[in-house]
Amino acid sequence: MKISRERCVACGNCTYVCPMGAIYIDPVLKRATINRDECVECYACYNGLSQEHLNPTMVRTVRRVFAALRIRFEPEPDVCPTAAFEPDELTWPRVVRRAFSDPSVPHESTGVEGRGTEEVKTNDVTGRVKVGEVGFTIEFGRPGVGVRFHEIQQMCWALAEAKVSFEKKNPVTSLMSDVSTGTLRPDILGEKVMSAIVEIKVPVERTEEIVHLVWEVEKKLDTVIALGVATRCGEHGEEDVVAPVLERLGYKIERAKTNIGLGRIVESAAEPAPEAAHV
């Protein structure tokens, strides 16, 4: 993302809306400026701020007069008054930032459509997580902290060493140069993204082991993790296998997403369930 120096009037609205806090008013330039190393190309500034197309010279003059009179200039807080944001032409590897950060674009850089995967949201159709299995979503950088791929790689290494199955169609898996070791492409390791999800599947008996592994690795990382654990319910909708394990580990489960099983396979579309990348 770029900010036009000709159009920016340094109103400061964009400094608040950047989820990474990467925008500031440069005291010398007197313009909003992006810290490109911290920017994750999420486009929250460009997509989220409404745009006016006011004359920048006029707005600067009005602001100067108001400031001299100590009058507070208070525009709507979700507006860029001069439409100063300009999308940048992103190249590899920086384009990975946008793929993992801007929910409005598909994962072109990774070859996977969509920002994440369907997990168990379509489990009633895909049969991806079966009875006796547990799917983990280990999400890095959320909420509002961000993560660099070299940190994600540490978790991938540990998981690969534990011989888990990485979800094959997951965007992080697609960036692995070696799935058997969980090693990511070296050219993306320094890239920062809003969040990224590593997905694995294990037999239910390994739930506790995986949680302990995540706890061990997360201590070494400089970011936050949101952990999700998914499983197939029993014949009558009961789930009394995984939740007790999680509660024993000290988790108080406050929220869940529940697939209510209304999906059906359309006859003409029937095909095998997606595979996991086994190591």
């Binding site: 929910p103 409005s104 168990v120 990382l221 936050v224 949101a226």
Partner: protein, 225 residues
């Protein structure tokens, strides 16, 4: 993506937060997915949702690329639910957000009766989802638990800011902006209703809950937890 799952708060704080979403399966394409999703949204409208959205175009309140300067004095704050339904042009995840259990339960029951054949999920407290399923006589198929946030949690701001910002699971609502809106309400520079509309416009898939956000902002005004 886990965008509806990891909301900051305890089960009690989700008492007015029910997201029901439908999505087609990418690997098993349904040629009728689009009309089914549109029907899902149309039915949702009958149960008075507080937000409606699709993952490609956003929710019922969206930012504008050509805002009139007059909007600073007279901003349109009404959600446009019909625009969401009209704008749905490709199969994608579609969501309806409700702020009371009765509406969510009745909607789930109706969706079951409608038998659209697409996957439907309920994202809320475990008890809330269970009540929806019981009301509709549905046996849960699968469940994805949120275990909350861990790791360097000192990087997460205070609970009211986090409760607001995590209502966009894609992270488009920044902590700073959520804090700014709390401050605006505390200083009486904006009403909670106005602050909620500013926040809503950043959510890119329509799962932001304006009713819950308003309650959080009103609580924050007096620092009630």
């Amino acid at each position: 993506m886990t965008n509806t799952l990891h909301r900051f708060g305890d089960a009690e704080s989700f008492r007015d937060d029910y997201i029901v979403f439908a999505l087609p399966t990418k690997s098993k394409k349904d040629p009728n997915a689009l009309p089914k999703l549109r029907r899902f949204l149309e039915i949702a409208l009958e149960y008075k949702p507080v937000n409606l959205g699709d993952a490609r175009h956003g929710g019922a309140l969206r930012s504008s690329k050509s805002l009139s300067p007059l909007s600073h004095w007279k901003r349109d704050m009404a959600p446009d639910f019909q625009a969401v339904i009209r704008g749905l042009d490709a199969p994608t995840s579609c969501a309806a957000v409700f702020d009371n259990p009765e509406a969510a339960e009745k909607f789930v029951k109706r969706i079951k009766e409608e038998d659209l054949g697409i996957s439907v999920n309920v994202s809320t407290s475990i008890e809330g989802a269970a009540r929806c399923c019981n009301f509709a006589c549905i046996d849960r198929h699968s469940v994805g638990y949120s275990l909350g946030f861990e790791g360097k949690t000192e990087k997460i701001p205070d609970s009211q800011v986090a409760a607001l910002s995590t209502m966009c699971g894609h992270g488009m609502i920044s902590h700073s902006f959520a804090k700014k809106m709390i401050d605006f309400v505390k200083e009486n520079r904006r009403t909670p209703d106005q602050a909620v509309t500013y926040l809503s416009r950043f959510c890119s898939c329509g799962i932001f809950n304006p009713s819950r956000a308003k309650r959080i902002l009103e609580d924050a005004r007096t620092k009630a937890q």
